[in-house]
Each structure stands twice: as structure tokens, then as C-alpha cells.
Symmetry: C2
Subunit: 220 residues, 2 copies
């Protein structure tokens, strides 16, 4: 462990034990759908969001915007949005695949004690436009890096996170009354998980398997 | 440290020492532009890419596609692409900001021993479409999670990574002769960094500062 004074003065050296534990963290991360209803400890959400601020961002623009969805009214709007998108998605499948889809638990909206809607500011002054002229989508990509940072920090603290994407992104921004320049990226459920697994829920439920049989890269 | 057998049988518990070192990793990650030219150890790239496969992906689709850009011909095409995009970007600035832009080192293309172009497969069979009906961009977002996983694993191993986005994404796919269904997401330079810093290069060079003065979230 590196003490705080060391991190300010010296580049840290990460040893084999830390690297192995980081790999364990990556292997056990999980996209959680089954939450206990007890609240997170006071200050936990703020601590995790402060760590997310350390994520990389194009031009150092920090374009992520987090909305804590707390009121019953706001949560009801999100549930309605999800129910409509999920019903339409179910209609895309037939036969066994439809039955399998219907049995999947695809959100933790009813139980997760903390819920965050995450947006990217599409026209941030911060960063002075650097690095996004040809690829404006790097603002959303930076926001995804903040989400993933939050995800890993949460899991390291024993907190599960589930990313819900079965939502109409256009109406969600209106549902939550955010500025029009905010582009919806992700809806996150956070809380202590009911169970912990090394394999993804979608693999356990027979939807899809993690593939390890294709080459890691092609060469040019 | 959790042994391999433990990770298969028991949910790991991450202690305070690991959490503190993870925070140090996040704080010292950096977007590296100044690389030493010496090669990475044999097997290092493959190890890091195998860890990137553990990233979250929509519907367990694993849509990321990595191209190792190794030949002089392929690297020359990337440099030409970058030079054109960078010259156009410089034209957007005037006065002191233009002079500052011109002094920034915005890529490590000439020195980084390993370079990866990262794409998202826009129509993957894997995942059966789950979770991306209303938000097809989650395929790119999943790919960003793989990039960020690679980034953190590399930094933990002492390897620096720099994400170059000043590129024409359409022509880069053609430059590298990849399938038309592959959407360009990121160009990564990897190698040992010349220097290590806790503050971002853009902050050190006076382009932008990391902001800590706005609220971490708004509430609805």
C-alpha cells in the first residue's frame, strides 16, 4: 500500500500482489440486477463519484453529468420508460428465445437503493474542444470511462452496479428535466448485491456465453 | 492477495489496502504522449488484451475488435491521417490558444512501440441484440469499457497508454482495411512512459485544469 504522502511525491510502483488482486476485481466485477434494499453507508456515493472524476476525458473536459434519481416521481418515470422499451424489445424475439428473454431479470429498478442517470454534456466549454473535432462522440466515451471507474471502485467496496440500457434515451432526458445539451449515456443501479458470482448472469441464464475462442487481435 | 483457487470458489473481499492502492492507480493513470522506444516484454500485450476481454459488454456481446498496427506502411497511413486532422484542428484556434495548441504533444505515434486501433462491431451476432435496441451506441460504449480496462491493467504493470482521437474515423477504417461493419472507436499508443506524473499533461502545459468545484451530482 502506498501512503498518501508517497502518492504526491513519487510515482507509485504497483507490485505483483496488487496486479493479481486487480485481475480478481476485473473477473468478479459483474453487472448486478439483484440488489438488497438496504441503503449504502452515508458518504459512500459521494466517495465513489469523486473517484469517477479521475477518469480520463477528451481534452480534460470532464463532460460527465450525474443525476441522482431519488424521488418516487422520478423513479416512476424511469420505470415506465423501461417497461415500454422492454415490451418492445420482447417483441423482437420468438419461440424459445422470447421465453428466455421474458425470464431474464433486466433491471434492478425496483430494489436498488441508489440510482444514477448519467449524461454527457455535448457542448462543454471545458477542454476548449481539444481532441473531439473529428470525433465528438469522445464526450460520450469519456463519460463511459467515468461510469466504468465508478463501477470498479464500487465493486472494490463491495457495492454492486447494474447498467440499464433498455430505455428510450430521448424521453429519459425529458423525464428527468435535464438541459437539452445533455446526452443520455447510462442508467445505473447501485446497492449491495443479493449474490456474488464470477460468471455473468446472462451466462448463468443461458442467454449468451463469454467467448474466448477468437484471436485477441488482428495485425496490419 | 486472493489465490486462483479462491477466486473460483469464493467471492473475494477487497480490503482497505487494495482499495487505497486502486485509488492510487486511478489518480496516477495518465494519458501518455511521451514514450520510450523499447519494446514491451514478450506476451505483455496478449496478457493485457486478455484482461480487456473481462470488460462489461451489452448483452455479453464482446463487440470490441483490436487491430495491432505494426507494419511501417500501416503506421505511415495513421500518421498521415493524424497530421491532416491535427492541422485542421489547429485552424480552429487563434492567438495564444493557437500557439499553445501548436506546442502540445498530442500523440505518441512516432515512438510508441505498440499501437492498437480499436473498433466496435456494429452488427454482432453474439449477444442476440440484448440491451441495444434503443441504444445501439452501447456497442461502442462496451468497447470503451474494454479500452479503459486495458488502460488500468497496463498502468498497473508500469505500461503507459495514450488515446489518440485527432483522426478521421471514416478513413482510418479504410486505411487499415477492416470490415465495413467495424466502427472506429479509439487509437491507442502503448509503451513505457518517459516520465510519470500525477497531474495530466494538459494541466501541466496550461491547456485546461481538472475541476473539482462543481457538485458531484444533481438530484431529481
Amino acid at each position: 500500500m502506498v501512503s498518501e504522502s508517497d502518492t504526491r511525491c513519487l510515482p507509485p510502483r504497483f507490485g505483483a500482489a496488487f496486479q493479481a488482486e486487480l485481475e480478481t476485481l476485473l473477473a468478479w466485477r459483474r453487472d448486478v440486477r439483484r440488489f438488497r434494499r438496504d441503503a449504502l453507508p452515508a458518504g459512500m456515493l459521494e466517495h465513489l463519484l469523486a473517484l469517477a472524476e479521475l477518469a480520463p476525458s477528451v481534452g480534460l473536459s470532464q463532460p460527465w453529468r450525474f443525476v441522482r434519481v431519488a424521488s418516487p416521481e422520478a423513479r416512476a418515470k424511469v420505470r415506465t420508460n423501461f417497461a415500454a422499451a422492454n415490451a418492445e424489445a420482447l417483441g423482437d424475439y420468438a419461440g424459445e428465445r422470447a421465453a428466455l428473454y421474458a425470464r431474464l431479470k433486466l433491471s434492478g429498478l425496483d430494489d436498488a437503493p441508489e440510482q444514477l442517470a448519467v449524461f454527457a454534456e455535448a457542448e462543454p466549454e471545458q477542454g476548449h474542444g481539444l481532441g473531439r473535432r473529428t470525433m465528438p462522440e469522445t464526450l460520450q466515451y469519456s463519460t463511459v470511462c467515468a461510469v466504468h471507474t465508478l463501477w470498479l471502485a464500487a465493486r472494490a467496496a463491495g457495492v454492486g452496479l447494474g447498467w440499464v440500457s433498455i430505455l428510450d434515451p430521448e424521453s429519459l432526458g425529458a423525464d428527468l428535466d435535464v438541459p437539452e445539451s445533455w446526452c443520455f449515456v447510462a442508467y445505473l443501479c447501485l446497492g449491495y448485491p443479493q449474490e456474488e458470482h464470477e460468471d455473468p448472469e446472462l451466462a448463468r441464464r443461458g442467454w449468451e456465453t463469454r467467448r474466448g475462442d477468437r484471436p485477441l487481435f488482428v495485425t496490419r
